[in-house]
Symmetry: C2
Subunit: 479 residues, 2 copies
């Protein structure tokens, strides 16, 4: 019979080597594995189940805001990709090229989509003729390939899964409203489902998406206080419509270019989920997203038929309202199972042994706090439902607290440097808008301008140069 | 205001040119469009919504039979692909090759997956050590690329969407049971959700999947009586396990090769759906699969505020139990809307005008039969629910009737030839098992051996050569 001890010891403590801790959690919680081509990851069932729940939560929100799904082809002709200059410059260095199809050498190279603005743009140009054809509000769930040099599971890979929304509108105002609406959908989704607070804001010109007029992001703070861009929403104005010919006859009889947007969230958020909530014992999953919300572990080295029977009845009852799993594997000890399910981040563990049965109770252990308490079997489903809501709320509170506690309004540039480098916090302060000041912070601290928080007035002065500030800006070291 | 007339006339009558009729329906029902690379299709929202419902129905069944989802990489190293000889021979001619990643010329070509047996096999070899690791029951939803020469929307494309299940087992019996279980899942799914009857059977050696020991299929009959292979399930024995090293230490302490299976269903079934149920007026969708089950069309060239208000209230009420859409576009006439929604295959149309309001009723029109009748507004949701069930059942009955009526037990080969060529029916008769007889039928009639129906005893003699028969066999011309 397997022993309890060695399991957890294989995780590197996060305060010793955060990067190694992350990789240990990915591996030990069985979320992903390395594929045969370097930089390509296999999402194992435990990892993919997280993505399925993310998909369900986002897709519901996309549809509630009037969007429909479609599917656009994987391969983009080189000539088509080359029509929008800024987009080309941004993406060409990391495109994978198909040069042979079957026995045939292709006359034109085909790019595996790194993103689909140009493919969608070419199709929208066919589909849009009149103002009556607008808005087009389409999302797609797919895979994209970007030939990244340094890769890490979930965070950066040569292939990843995501959704990319692409919309076309008859006015700038409507397209801008869409851009911000979807940014808010991301913020609300991450907060509600992943217990992940973020800061919404506009990207600086040097950080925006290749081809966008404006890019907005939601930025989350990881356990090591680095920032992670968890979702982006882009306003293109008429740039892509001009490059790809998306024109419509407006109500006033004048032919105009459409205004387009795009917005995306990827499997990268699973990396963020790990780093926002994980701890020294492994993954910690928020109940709303957890594929298994509670695991039942029968107690006693050789769980008696009575205990197993009671556990099975309990499993049946709870399954009606919760996502619950009964671990009745005979070849593992309860202690080994405790460690494994902690590692896998299951929010609640229910221990049921002979003494609990006699007392008409189960012992319930919270994954997030380790808190342990008996709960009566009578009315248990309701109690657990409330407890899961409390866990979800507490996880969000703690993540919010971390974000607040480590975001500083630096009084001068010296203090800001110290916060960004020594204390690894975020700095929120004025920025004059110059690339020079942005670059200086990056060179001297390694921190980047994460975004320009929405709805916050600009302070008086730029943190870096002391000239009048044009924006409030958020700096931090980032993934 | 647009006129009613021209719309439907644009569909070629199916008995005039079935192939053109099919393409007209795909285009006019707005299911798909051609992408910028020949052979690559865009699935438009109306087409993709069908796939979403197919995915939901299949995924639920996969999970109910113990499977979980995962995601394996898109690109397969050439050397890995080459390890299973029959598989290589079957797929290499239609593989798309990536030769450049970013600025880097790759040292080894990478295949875009035409299917994932080898990728999954390589990973399973890492994941399986002990009998305790088995069975592995994993499915994935993804895109694949096959460089087909002749393509048609949904039916055959250079890229398509599908699911591919891959399982590994500790015994041949268990793997065989899995192969047949998933075949039955396909059959039941198609019958229940798509109102599409099929015939289950084993493929002949010349028609089986490259690398499989046994392939099984479900075959559906289209409106032109051609067969379409709607789903396949493969038993690999230990072939892939041997090629890719999937070995486990069994209970008896002996290291053995695992037994594997795979099974897949693709967006091709949308083509089948069109051809099983469609008619001269366009698409006909079975209610269980239809994204919109009933459309409300307010009547009166300029629908009055009273009628519109009543239609909106009706929409609100019905939305609680049905997938219902209210078409309140002012720029189209009711007649134009009738044609459009017929074209798009919506199962029920609800007409609501001033006279209906006065009579406390709506006029309900079935898409499948054209039958028109008033139904009282009181208790309408329940009535429509029953009517939708009746439509679903009737659509299945008619499709079953067609399949039965056009499947013939030919008394001799001459009659069989005549059935297969002139009457375009299917023939069910004995087969000796020889490739010669199989080839002869193909050459002389264009029909292929669809499958060897399960659970049917072999007749006495082979239809073709008159030698003793080894199997019952089903022949038909196929897509």
């Amino acid at each position: 019979m397997a022993e309890a001890g060695p399991f957890v010891k294989e995780i590197t403590p996060p305060d010793q080597d955060y990067s190694q801790w992350y990789q240990d959690v990915v591996r030990k919680a069985d979320l992903a594995d390395y594929g045969p081509v370097a930089g390509f990851m296999v999402m194992k069932p435990a990892g993919y189940a997280l993505w399925e729940n993310i998909q369900a939560g986002l897709d519901r929100r996309f549809k509630a805001t009037g969007h429909v799904n479609a599917y656009f082809p994987l391969l983009i002709p080189e000539s088509l990709l080359m029509q929008e200059a800024a987009h080309v410059a941004g993406f060409t260095p990391e495109v994978a090229w198909v040069t042979q199809g079957g026995q045939e050498q292709l006359s034109e190279r085909l790019a595996i989509r790194p993103t689909s603005e140009v493919m969608v743009g070419a199709m929208y140009a066919k589909w849009v003729q009149s103002y009556r054809d607008l808005p087009l509000l389409i999302n797609q769930w797919n895979n994209v390939v970007r030939w990244e040099k340094v890769t890490r599971p979930f965070l950066r890979g040569k292939e990843f899964l995501w959704q990319e929304g692409h919309t076309a509108h008859s006015s700038a105002e409507e397209a801008m409203a869409e851009t911000l609406r979807m940014l808010e959908v991301y913020r609300e989704f991450l907060e509600t489902e992943l217990a992940m607070p973020t800061r919404k804001g506009q990207k600086s010109d040097s950080e925006k998406f290749a081809g966008a007029e404006l890019t907005y992001s939601v930025e989350a703070m990881m356990g090591d206080r680095r920032a992670l861009q968890a979702g982006t929403s882009h306003y293109f104005g008429t740039r892509f419509a001009t490059a790809y010919g998306i024109r419509f006859l407006d109500r006033d009889g004048v032919e105009k270019h459409a205004f387009t947007t795009s917005w995306g969230m990827s499997t990268r958020v699973i990396g963020a989920l790990i780093m926002v909530h994980g701890d020294g014992r492994g993954l910690v999953l928020p109940p709303r997203l957890a594929p298994i919300q509670a695991v039942i572990v029968p107690i006693g080295a050789n769980a008696s038929p009575e205990v197993l029977g009671a556990a099975q009845r309990l499993h049946g009852e709870l399954s009606e309202t919760l996502r619950v799993h009964l671990d009745q594997r005979p070849e593992y000890t309860p202690g080994w199972k405790f460690n494994e399910w902690e590692m896998r981040g299951v929010p609640l563990r229910l221990e049921l042994g002979p003494r609990d049965m006699a007392a008409g109770q189960v012992v319930v252990v919270r994954r997030d706090t380790g808190e342990k308490r008996p709960l009566p079997l009578a009315g248990l489903a309701g109690q657990l439902g409330e407890l899961l809501e409390a866990v979800q709320a507490d996880m969000l509170s703690r993540a919010e607290e971390r974000l607040r506690q480590h975001t500083h309004a630096a009084s001068d540039y010296g203090e800001a440097r110290q916060i960004l480098t020594d204390r690894l916090g975020w700095v929120e302060a004025g920025w004059c808008g110059s690339v020079a000041c942005e670059d200086q912070v990056k060179e001297e601290t390694g921190a980047t301008l994460r975004n320009l928080p929405l709805d916050q007035p600009a302070p008086a002065l730029c943190l870096v140069c002391g000239q009048p500030a044009r924006h409030m800006a958020l700096w931090g070291r980032a993934y």
